[in-house]
């Protein structure tokens, strides 16, 4: 169904639905040849993979790294509270930094997709962020409940 089909909205919108207008460019873009478009499509796929990896890093490597840093702070300062505070502040800081990087990557992905010949309106960041959060959550549950959690108490002594 076309994005501007009024029956899609129950007839509530006589014209086009909000947010479904055509993309407005500064001028009429001149796309490259088929080879260049294929290259742009490959580059876009690479950027998307990078975006996924960056988002995944939020749910595993970064917290683990900051917990290690926190433990080192605790060891050297003798203060557990200070170690936890450093780890928490570090996680928040790199979360913000990662999101800023991911946003730029997402913008680059949209532009590459358009250069590849697709009418790409929206980015993928929100979906990737949500999907990686779900995947990381499930992985944590498997690790916590099955691999590391109750296993020693259930296992034969």
């Amino acid at each position: 169904m076309p994005r501007n089909d009024p029956t899609d909205t129950g007839g509530l919108f006589i014209g086009r639905r909000p947010g479904t207008g055509p993309l407005h460019y500064r001028g009429a873009p001149e796309r490259g040849g088929p080879g260049r478009r294929r290259t742009d499509a490959l580059l876009a796929a690479g950027v998307l993979v990078l975006e996924v990896l960056v988002c995944l890093s939020l749910w595993g490597p970064q917290p683990v790294a900051w917990l290690w840093v926190g433990s080192q702070v605790d060891y050297h300062s003798g203060s557990v509270t200070f170690g936890i505070a450093v780890a928490f502040a570090g996680m928040i800081a790199t979360l913000m930094l990662t999101l800023a990087v991911a946003t730029r990557l997402d913008r680059a992905w949209r532009i590459l997709r358009r250069a590849a010949g697709y009418e790409q309106r929206e980015g993928m960041l929100v979906r990737i962020f949500a999907a990686t959060a779900v995947v990381a959550g499930l992985a944590f549950l498997v690790w916590f409940v099955i691999l590391e959690g109750p296993a020693p108490s259930l296992a034969p002594q």
Partner: protein, 345 residues
């Protein structure tokens, strides 16, 4: 090289909503700025009431439209209401498509007759009489003149369009030869004082309209009173929405009509007061129509002077009168603008 590459990809960046809207916003700002300096046209030429009809009248018409419009409408209830309002037999009333169509039908028996038309009067009268095969003769709107005219029919417009003057219709009906037809265009009757109906007289037709005081010109509704008016009925009647709106107006519209009558009278008084000690004047009368003249300018000059200030009136030339213009009064703001514009001529 890198710059060229970046430029290639930059052309695929979308404009922000603010950038997309910038042109539209600038255009709107320019329109608003212009609206403050632009003088809007003021149409004082149309004799139809300047406001929409009462919302309930529109509701009644809409309700009728959504019911059985596949069936021919039954005018029974409307005819009953008209008869009750005027205290006449139901056989002596008929609804039609506006006063104009009813007058056209009423003129049909006058083929070959000489007809005295009180003049100035409603602008369509001579044309409709000619169309019916009658010979219209302009006579001053005066009872003596009309009674004395050698004619087989007398047609008057009271209150008068364009002058607003009220004629003593009862006196005219009493004094006319019983064999003479009397046809009264009473489209502006709601603006005039209450008067005796002359429907009891044979060979008399009084035509009323819903286009003026009821503000329903677009619905084309009216009715005729008199003996043997059944022949004036439109074939298969008046549309159901028009009938419903007319019925509502007859049963519930008195308060609205009284308000419009008071508004028209108030604007007449305000304009008369504003034109005191100026070359402009107009005769006393009723309703929103004013027959304006000047001791210094002819009608064409008045109309042109007002048109230059984007106020449009009807030159008296339409009635064969070069001295006057017809002005259809609206609200207080329009009267103020008109009087200010007249002072500039």
């Amino acid at each position: 090289m890198i710059r060229k590459l970046l430029d290639y990809y930059r052309q695929f960046e979308e404009l922000s909503p603010e950038e997309i809207s910038r042109d539209l916003i600038e255009k709107r700002h320019a329109e608003r700025a212009q609206a403050l300096t632009e003088v809007q046209p003021l149409d004082l030429a149309t004799p139809a009431w300047h406001e929409p009809p009462d919302a309930e009248a529109v509701n009644a018409a809409t309700y009728a439209l959504r019911r059985a419009v596949n069936a021919y409408p039954d005018p029974g209830a409307l005819h009953e209401a008209i008869a009750a309002r005027h205290g006449v037999e139901r056989e002596h009333v008929v609804a039609g498509h506006g006063a104009g169509e009813l007058l056209r039908a009423a003129f049909r028996p006058l083929r070959g007759a000489e007809v005295a038309v009180a003049w100035p009067g409603w602008g369509y009268l001579p044309r409709l009489l000619n169309e019916a095969g009658a010979s219209p003769v302009a006579v001053d709107p005066d009872v003596e003149e009309l009674v004395g005219a050698p004619a087989q029919a007398v047609v008057i417009c009271s209150p008068n369009d364009p002058t607003g003057a009220e004629m003593d219709v009862a006196a005219l009906a009493d004094r006319l030869d019983p064999a003479t037809w009397l046809i009264v265009d009473a489209a502006l009757a709601e603006f005039g004082p209450p008067r005796d109906d002359v429907v009891g007289r044979e060979r008399t037709v009084v035509v009323r309209s819903f286009s003026k005081a009821h503000a329903m010109a677009g619905l084309r509704g009216g009715y005729a009173l008199g003996h043997d008016v059944a022949a004036l009925a439109p074939v298969a009647g008046v549309s159901a929405p028009a009938q419903a709106a007319m019925l509502w107006a007859l049963e519930n519209g008195d308060a609205v009509v009284a308000r419009r009558r008071a508004a028209a009278a108030r604007e007449r008084e305000r304009l008369a007061a504003a034109l005191r000690d100026t070359p402009f004047s107009f005769p006393a009368g009723h309703g929103p129509l004013v027959w304006l003249e000047s001791s210094e300018h002819d009608g064409a000059a008045i109309a042109a002077g007002l048109a230059a200030q984007r106020i449009y009136v009807t030159p008296g030339g339409a009635w064969g009168d070069e001295r006057h213009v017809r002005v259809a009064l609206r609200d207080g703001a329009a009267t103020d603008r008109l009087s200010a514009a007249l002072s500039e001529i």
